[in-house]
């Protein structure tokens, strides 16, 4: 009996153990299964995490952020203009550069190391109005994928980040659209079918109307100034135009055509001519009935922008997608300074001019074919190849002057440079088990320029291991190359900074990035990520020091010097995307260094945007269906700059007979600025609060109006953008004169309220 009871007990325990084990594995399998779905559902509590949380946990790629159009539209920004790049600036690991400008410095990289693809069309210098607005019309944007740590092998050409912007597909059913009016510009988007369910188009147009205000204002001012013989000229406008036409052949195949045009034009100057006082003076002198007529005009013209077209064809196979595309992309910038004069309109010999013109151009023509296939649940394969022909005008300089009959011309155009780039890639994603996924990719590039080829391989790898249904760890590695660079000696990205290709004399920029991270889901529809990263950069380019003393006829390559950089840090992010209250907190910790043999006496120095800490808090609260509040708070350790702390004497009046160009400052005693080390000073910390409110109004026939009111920099913190030296305050004292020399911070962005109205139909 005892034996039987013991045996039954043993069996019971085995059975219980077995049931526990079965239950455990079932739970794991159920959760593992649900991880693969786009919507994650827990057994006891129905919580829909959505795409973002799922991707955060399961996507083997690290540092990938997918942003929907709603987030871009809701973020309170300067002048109320939604801006893709400003949205990206709020992410951890991304430094915004100088306030107000759409700079993007990702994981310690520079602004020109970011590739922007607009539905596959590459664009250069993506900003309007000096960077205050980005080049992308958010009404045309459906989605945005931003990569900063790991990169799929299909992307290449830049070493810091990829921003892949997906356009809205046109509406195949009905005529729809949006109009928006803001303080500085207007935005329109319409979409309609041409053949229902077969062919449809969409068009987006955005234009500033600063000139609509400035032109009549200046006309009034100039009417008043006319008697003084002065006319002021100032005009600025930007426009961007997007177009898309889609045609569905059948359920399997479709094609689309995309067009983009975006340009800025700035004109500023003055014209002087005979004034009423001149006329009166001459008439009173009795020398002549009419004063001599003359003019003296000084005009600066700056224009820049992109245009491009892309045609693509998609064919859906049983378990995959075949894609082919062809495109033409064109970037140009131009700066003209013209001084034209004639001292006496009756005497042609008094006519003259000085003109200088600087140009920079890039034309890309490319095509690509790719295939993406899913083979069961365990293997995803993507492969492709492409070719791009680049035509560069790296530096076009023309100086012309005329004095009467004498003409001087100096055309120092660098010759056009052509390059051919061919590439192939493949990406393999293995879901080895339910817990482990591994992505291995390879991209090969050959870049042929000036009878020289740069052949490079770019390995990519990512690993994801699910520790539990709610936590995973990931690791990644990526090598990237870049064959064109925008060299700048400024802290703000200007269109006058030249895009210049890598040549036979210069090596391609290279980055190797290593990443490791922990990802997880939290209660209440929240998820988090903690990513550590290290990036090594080689063959970075800067202008050589002492460029002023170099031969102005030097080839542009000879003005440059190469060096290296490295950066490392941690990106932490917590997000909540569901419910009435949503938002995110992002924190980035970073170190960012550079070393050039020919700069800073060969010593290591911090990069300009070595922002040690960065904290972004974004919040969105939907009070009800009609009213939404948004807020954003940003804190960042200050940028670095090169500031002269000490001054030293010039020869000056101690050598009175020596030739001199005069003291650089008002006072000889102040002397000359002494610069010891690059980026030696850190600016004060930066912080800012933005508030916004959207009021949705349902109108007749399903139409909708949205009022948006926002306050940029709500507590008016005058964040300094630079530090300068001020020595103009002279204090006269009984014992002698004394200069009051101080360091001063310079700020220029106060609180900026804005309002806009969007009409959706």
């Amino acid at each position: 009996m005892t034996y039987l009871i013991a045996k039954v007990e043993w069996l019971r325990r085995i059975h219980l153990s077995f049931m526990v084990i079965v239950f455990f594995f079932s739970a794991v399998l159920i959760n593992a299964q649900t991880q693969k779905d786009t919507t994650t559902i827990k057994l006891q509590e129905v919580v829909v995490y959505g795409d973002e949380a799922g991707k955060n946990l399961t996507d083997p790629l690290m540092g990938r952020v997918s942003i929907k159009d709603k987030l871009i539209l809701n973020l309170p920004v300067m002048f109320g203009e939604p801006d893709i790049v400003k949205t990206l600036q709020t992410l951890p690991g991304v430094s915004p550069g100088v306030e107000g400008f759409t700079g993007l410095y990702v994981h310690g990289g520079d602004n020109d190391q970011n590739l922007f693809l607009y539905q596959g069309l590459p664009l250069y210098h993506v900003s309007h109005l000096g960077g205050i607005f980005s080049s992308f019309n958010v009404f045309t944007v459906r989605s945005l994928d931003f990569f900063k740590s790991s990169f799929p092998a299909r992307y290449g050409g830049r070493i810091s980040s990829i921003t892949d912007i997906g356009m809205n597909q046109p509406d195949f059913e009905k005529f729809t659209g949006k109009f928006s009016l803001g303080l500085l510009g207007g935005n329109a988007y319409i979409s309609a079918p041409l053949v229902k369910e077969k062919t449809a188009f969409s068009v987006g147009l955005r234009r500033s109307w600063i000139d609509a205000i400035s032109i009549p204002t200046l006309a009034i001012m100039n009417q008043v100034q006319k008697k003084k013989g002065e006319k002021h000229i100032a005009q600025y406008a930007f426009v961007d135009f997007n177009m898309r036409i889609d045609h569905h052949f059948n359920q399997k195949s479709k094609m689309y055509l995309v067009g983009y045009y975006g340009y800025d034009n700035l004109k500023i100057g003055e014209r002087l001519f005979e004034s009423r006082e001149d006329k009166n003076a001459v008439m009173n002198s009795g020398d002549s009935d009419e004063p001599s007529r003359f003019f003296d005009e000084d005009i600066n013209r700056l224009s820049w922008g992109n245009w491009g077209v892309l045609g693509a064809f998609d064919y859906r196979l049983n378990n995959g997608l075949l894609h082919a595309s062809i495109y033409h992309s064109n970037y140009s910038s131009s700066y003209k300074q013209e001084k034209e004069y004639q001292a006496n309109l009756s005497d042609p010999s008094t006519y003259g001019y000085n003109r200088s013109h600087t140009k920079n151009k890039i034309k890309d023509v490319g095509f690509k074919v790719s295939y993406m296939g899913e083979f069961g649940e365990f293997y995803l394969f993507e492969s492709g190849a492409g070719f791009i022909h680049h035509a560069y005008l790296p530096e076009g300089l023309l100086n012309e002057s005329r004095e009467g009959e004498e003409l001087f011309s100096d055309d120092n155009n660098s010759p056009d440079v052509s390059a051919n780039e061919g590439y192939f890639y493949m990406d393999n994603t293995f879901n080895i088990t339910d817990r482990v996924a591994f992505q291995a990719g390879l991209r090969g590039v050959t870049y042929h320029i000036q009878s020289h080829s740069h052949n490079r391989l770019e390995p990519r790898a990512s690993l994801r291991i699910n520790l539990s249904p709610d936590y995973s760890i990931k690791a990644g590695y990526a090598r990237m190359y870049q064959f064109v660079q925008q060299i700048s000696s400024n802290y703000i990205n200007l269109p006058t900074d030249l895009w210049q290709p890598i040549t036979a004399e210069l090596k391609p920029l290279q980055s190797d990035q290593y990443s490791l991270g922990l990802y997880g889901n939290l209660p209440h529809s929240m998820y988090f990520s903690v990513e550590g990263w290290y990036k090594d950069m080689q063959h970075l380019l800067e202008y050589r020091e002492g460029i002023s003393s170099l031969n102005p006829n030097l080839n542009w390559e000879e003005k440059l010097t190469a060096g290296k950089g490295w950066s490392y840090g941690i990106d932490l992010s917590v997000s909540k995307t569901a419910g009435k209250f949503s938002g995110s907190v992002g924190y980035g910790l970073m170190w960012n260094r550079r070393k050039f043999d020919e700069l800073n006496q060969g010593e290591t120095f911090p990069a300009k945007f070595d922002n040690r800490h960065k904290l972004n808090i974004n919040a969105n609260y939907s009070l009800n269906e009609k009213i939404e509040f948004n807020a954003g708070w940003t804190y960042m350790t200050g940028n670095r700059l090169t500031l002269s702390l000490y001054n030293y004497d010039i020869p000056g009046d101690q050598f009175p007979d020596a030739p001199s160009v005069g003291a650089p400052n008002l006072d000889e005693i102040t002397g000359v600025d002494y610069y010891s080390k690059r980026n030696n000073i850190r600016m004060p910390a930066y912080h800012r609060l933005d508030l916004g409110m959207s009021i949705h109004r349902l109108l007749k026939n399903g139409k909708k109006g949205i009022w948006n009111v926002s306050l940029y920099n709500a507590y008016c913190r005058m964040n300094p953008i630079t530090i300068k030296k001020d020595d103009v305050n002279k204090i006269w004292e009984a014992k002698g004169n004394q200069w009051n020399r101080v360091f001063k911070t310079f700020s220029f962005i106060p609180v900026i309220p804005s309002v806009s109205y969007t009409y959706i139909f």
Binding site: N344, S489, Y491, S548, P659, V661, R741
Partner: protein
């Protein structure tokens, strides 16, 4: 409501500039670096100014002279003498006088750091001829202005890279017609200078009260005529009162180091019309370091040679009409 407006305006007009204390960034290097300045020529003995740098926001009303240095003068690698400090002029002075073509070098030690520099005295260049012509009265700034055009001819030595500096000025302010505005913009060599100063961002124009440097790029080995101008405003000048209008033309031959130094000073003038100067002024552009050839220190050792020429403008143009 008025109170609200006042707050808003006060906020908006909140100073864009604010003082900041950077004393915590004082550097050992800045406190201990010696400044050496010396501009030498074959017509005088060698003089050297030795001073210390100063932290910009410190009270600093006169040069801080270093008077206890042992400065050695070498000419053509041969030690010549130790220079003596003249307390009245606050300069170290030599007894010897260098000649054209001499390599002059200075050596000293300051705070255990060896400081040395060298430069070569260029050969002077002769002005072969000067011609002047006058236009006006015409409108430049007012209806009673005159434009004088000067053509200065000289020959460049083809065997080497040459650097120059042009200055022209009134001889005697008591008796000569007042100096007008110097205009270098029409002259090719100064357009080359403008290209160099501006880099790829044009905007700087060759105007100067003091004169301007130029190089022989584009005129190497040639006989070249410099065309420069002087704009005289009739209402502000003593045109008819003065009986003479002498102008002294100085075409300096300068050393390469001194040329680089002068050009780098021009590149740092943030008060010019160039975009880069403007951006340096508000602090959003990388500054351009002023050139220095002092090893272990800072400053400049430059050299020049000159043969001035004086002409009476009225001998070419006649006097100004009454």
């Amino acid at each position: 409501m008025k109170y609200v407006y006042f707050i808003i305006i006060a906020l908006l007009l909140n100073s864009c500039y604010r003082d900041i204390d950077l004393n915590k960034h004082r550097e050992m290097e800045g406190e201990n670096l010696l400044t050496i300045n010396s501009i030498i020529n074959p017509d005088s003995t060698v003089a050297v100014a030795a001073t210390r740098m100063f932290f910009f926001s410190d009270v600093h009303n006169e040069r801080v002279v270093v008077s206890d240095l042992d400065i050695e003068l070498h000419i053509n690698s041969e030690f010549i003498e130790k220079m003596r400090f003249n307390a009245q002029r606050k300069l170290y002075e030599s007894v010897s006088r260098p000649a054209i073509g001499d390599v002059v070098s200075l050596q000293t030690t300051f705070n255990n750091t060896k400081v040395q520099t060298a430069d070569i005295i260029p050969e002077s260049v002769a002005i072969e001829s000067i011609n002047a012509e006058r236009q006006g009265p015409m409108h430049i700034y007012s209806g009673n202005d005159y434009l004088l055009t000067y053509r200065i001819t000289f020959s460049d030595n083809p065997d080497e890279e040459n650097f120059y500096f042009l200055q022209y000025d009134v001889v005697d302010k008591r008796y000569d017609v007042d100096m007008g505005e110097r205009d270098f913009t029409s002259e090719f060599v100064f357009q080359q200078l403008a290209k160099q100063v501006n880099g790829t961002l044009p905007g700087w124009e060759p105007y100067s009260f003091y004169g301007l440097p130029f190089s022989d790029r584009g005129i190497n080995g040639k006989t070249h005529t410099l065309v420069v101008k002087e704009k005289i405003q009739g209402e502000f000048s003593n045109l008819t009162a003065q009986k003479q209008m002498n102008r002294e033309f100085k075409l300096y031959a300068i050393s390469k180091s001194y040329y680089n130094y002068l050009v780098s000073l021009l590149c740092n003038r943030s008060d010019d019309g160039g975009i880069h100067g403007g951006m340096i002024d508000i602090g959003v552009a990388d500054p351009i370091k002023v050139y220095s050839n002092i090893d272990g220190g800072i400053g400049i050792l430059g050299s020049y040679a000159v043969e001035p020429k004086v002409i009476d403008i009225f001998s070419f143009t006649g006097k100004f009409p009454q």
